[in-house]
Symmetry: C2
Subunit: 257 residues, 2 copies
Amino acid sequence: MATVISFASQKGGVGKTTSAVHLATAFALGGYRTLLLDLDPQGSVYSAMGVKQRVIQGTLEIFCQDSTTLSDVLLPTSTENMHLILNDVDRLAHENELMKVAADYHHLHQWLARHARGEFEFIIIDVPASTNALSINAMVASNLVIVPMQCEALAIKSLKRFLLAFKDLQANIDPNLRIAGILLTMFDHEIPAHQKVCRQVYQTLGESVFQTIIPKCPQVLDASAAGMDVINRSLNSIGATGYIRLANEILDRFRLR
Amino acid sequence: MATVISFASQKGGVGKTTSAVHLATAFALGGYRTLLLDLDPQGSVYSAMGVKQRVIQGTLEIFCQDSTTLSDVLLPTSTENMHLILNDVDRLAHENELMKVAADYHHLHQWLARHARGEFEFIIIDVPASTNALSINAMVASNLVIVPMQCEALAIKSLKRFLLAFKDLQANIDPNLRIAGILLTMFDHEIPAHQKVCRQVYQTLGESVFQTIIPKCPQVLDASAAGMDVINRSLNSIGATGYIRLANEILDRFRLR
Ligand SMILES: Nc1ncnc2c1ncn2[C@@H]1O[C@H](COP(=O)(O)OP(=O)(O)OP(=O)(O)O)[C@@H](O)[C@H]1O
Ligand SMILES: Nc1ncnc2c1ncn2[C@@H]1O[C@H](COP(=O)(O)OP(=O)(O)OP(=O)(O)O)[C@@H](O)[C@H]1O
Ligand SMILES: [Mg+2]
Ligand SMILES: [Mg+2]
């Protein structure tokens, strides 16, 4: 049975897509059969992975067509052991339809259990920056929810609000929901504000912050501009080694080897 | 009658809150009576402006209590001529209630027309990163929609999707909707990928990109960590002068002086 991991946060631009793409790639290169699912109507996984063809079926069908099976929506990638389900919501009317079905917070959990969890060892979900019904579907479907956070002041207040909303979810929707940890991303050791926030986060949240910190890394930007991941493209870069370390930390911390 | 300006985009972390706070501050320091309205349930305006007291009434009441008037929700700031309406949505149940009312896309437009447009010369709206009902409410209520964008590859695809959704809105909701322009933010002239994307955006979108480019500026981060805006705190910084130049460009381009 697959371990389902979501990258969720209410704050935008914190590295949810980048982290989902690279953790999935690190697991796949490590030999684990991995599925990357894009639940964000923005569809960033499409460009981050350099997909060229038009997406025919994907997230919309999982929610809006009952008969949809895994083979209808699954796409291969150039990385062995790694497959994709992309987000094909591109009209507002689609988004409205999707949100109506997503009002059943267990919809994605049930579809994955029936069609995908038996086929993969890891399912990684890229989640929109929000606490709306689609994001709740992702969290309810997950064993581990990872919250990426930049080392900036605005991100702290937003994290507090997100953790408040998460407690709300645990109390009203599903008591088994667990935050696996906070992941510090795009850390630039030359910016004093980053060091200050980083110290503050470890002091207040301690164990629930991953040891691995993902550094700011220009090769990550270059790779995404080229529609590739940074692990396959610049293996020696600090961004690539950061995500490989994160994969290993997750395998050890949650005994998933 | 106030000019209503929204900072909207589907991509997160592009500087919507930072731009809304600083454009409002620049107009207020220029002598224009300005209202800054936070429509994002994440509530970033609260921390960016260093508000200390608990928010009693704000965005939630505008949508969910018919009798709400401007004086019920209005807060002063330390900048003369500038007032705030904050986002007081902090429980999931509130967010669901809000989204139900927001299904009427003209709700905010009507409330502002009745209670606020006669009191201010500018109303600036911080919008969540999405194309959901709340974001649509903001765009329908606006004269000018400004789309902040970082000079990064993932942002280009997301911009295309957003412009597609915007055309959808014009066709189905309100033909008068207009994008005022694309605003390039957090531009770092030392990053080659930024220069490349910047050139690409001006070549393909030309006139619809603001001449003013907001540079990456460490004082912006320091100011937000201190709960202040950068114009009042570091007037000589490139971030402060960037937003002052933007305010002047908007006043000239749309003859609002
Ligand atoms: N470690 C890193 N070093 C440098 N740039 C990075 C790094 N991680 C992410 N980025 C860049 O930062 C930007 C934001 O990252 P990303 O799009 O993954 O965030 P997100 O949280 O998914 O955003 P959204 O809220 O729009 O979904 C992207 O342009 C990405 O390429
Ligand atoms: N010109 C700038 N120079 C340096 N840092 C900046 C600049 N503009 C914004 N930032 C920082 O970048 C981060 C993202 O900005 P901001 O929160 O305004 O984006 P946003 O689009 O509102 O995000 P969200 O999608 O979460 O609403 C913040 O920490 C902010 O302080
Ligand atoms: Mg993303
Ligand atoms: Mg914001």
